[in-house]
Symmetry: C2
Subunit: 206 residues, 2 copies
Amino acid sequence: MEFSSKLIEKAVNEMSQLPGIGKRTALRLVLHILKQPKEQAAFLAQALVTMREEIKYCNSCHNISDSEVCEICANEKRNHQIICVVEDIRDVMAIENTGQFRGIYHVLGGKISPIDGVGPSQLTINSLVEKVKLGQVSEIIFALSSTMEGDTTNFYIYKQIADLSIIVSTIARGIAVGDELEYADEVTLGRSILQRVPFEKSLKSN
Amino acid sequence: MEFSSKLIEKAVNEMSQLPGIGKRTALRLVLHILKQPKEQAAFLAQALVTMREEIKYCNSCHNISDSEVCEICANEKRNHQIICVVEDIRDVMAIENTGQFRGIYHVLGGKISPIDGVGPSQLTINSLVEKVKLGQVSEIIFALSSTMEGDTTNFYIYKQIADLSIIVSTIARGIAVGDELEYADEVTLGRSILQRVPFEKSLKSN
C-alpha cells in the first residue's frame, strides 16, 4: 500500500499491529478518526496510554483491577474455598454473567503454548499452587478452553496439586443448550454421552 | 458488559467508537495492548494524535497530503486536463494501483447523504466547479460508488457543469474480469450488455 502521507502511513502501521486489524481496516479506522473532532483522537489516545500505564492486577486472583484486591476477592459473601481457573478477564466476565458461580477466580494470564513462546513461568501457576498448598481451598475448577494448549495447562497444574486433598474438576463439555444434535461435532456429542448426568439433576440446573 | 476496572472500561468505550469495532472486539484489542510493552501503546497513541493534529490536505485536489500540494497534483507529467472525481484517499490509492490513469484527482471527502447529514456544502464540490469554470479542464470522470448517494452526488455536480464545454464521463460498470456470468447480479449484467464495447477496443485494454 502506498500512502500519499507519512502521517497516515505511520498511523495505519501502528493500528495494523493490533490483532485482526489488517492494513485496509486500519486505514478505514484512521480515516474515521480524521473525520472526527481532534478531541476524539486525543481521548482515545489518552485512554489507551493511561490504561497501559496505570493498570493494576489483583494481588490474589491476578485479574485486572483498579485496586490491590479485586471486588470479587474482597467480597466476603463469595466462597473462597472454590477457585475457578480461567485464562483472562474475558472468561471471568463471561462466567460472572451467568450468575451461577459464587466462588472466586484465578486468572492465569494465558495458556501454556510453546509455539507462542509461553511457558509456565509466564503464567500465574505458581501463585495458584501456593494458594492451594495453604490448605484453604476445597475445589479447583478448570475453565480453560478445550484446545491442546488448554489441556496441557490443565494437566501441568493438575500434576502439582493432585497429591493434595482437594477436588479438581473441569467445566462440563457437551451440546450447547438449544443446539440440534445433527449439527454437533462428533467429539462434543461423544463426550456429552459419556459424561451424561442424572435427569433429575439436569432439571435443577436452570 | 461489566468490567472489573474503570481503566479498561474507558479504553474499551473509546475503542468501540470506531466503525465496525464492537465492545467485544474493543476488549480483545485492549487486552492485546495490555500484553505489549508500554512503549507500544504510547507509539500507537502518539501516531494517532500527531496524524489528527498535523494532517494537511492538498490545496488543489483536497487529498490527504503532507505538503500544500500533493505529489500527484505537483507532477508535471500528469494530464491536468482530466480530473477523476473520487470520494476519498482510498479510491485514489485504488486507481493509482491500476497504473491506468495519468490525469489528476478531485477528492470530494464523501457523498451527498441526507440520512448521514452530509450536504453539498460539506464536500469540496464548489472547489471542483470553480476549477472547471477556469477552463483548464477537458474531462471530468465520475468514479464514485454506484449507490443512491453516489448517483445523487454525480448528478448534483453534473447539473452545475453540464453547460460548460467539457466531457463528463463515468467509470465503466460491468462484469468483473474473471467473473462468471451466472453469478452476476441482473443490474450489472444488464448494464454490461447495454454499454458493450467494440471487441477490438476490449483487446487493447490490458
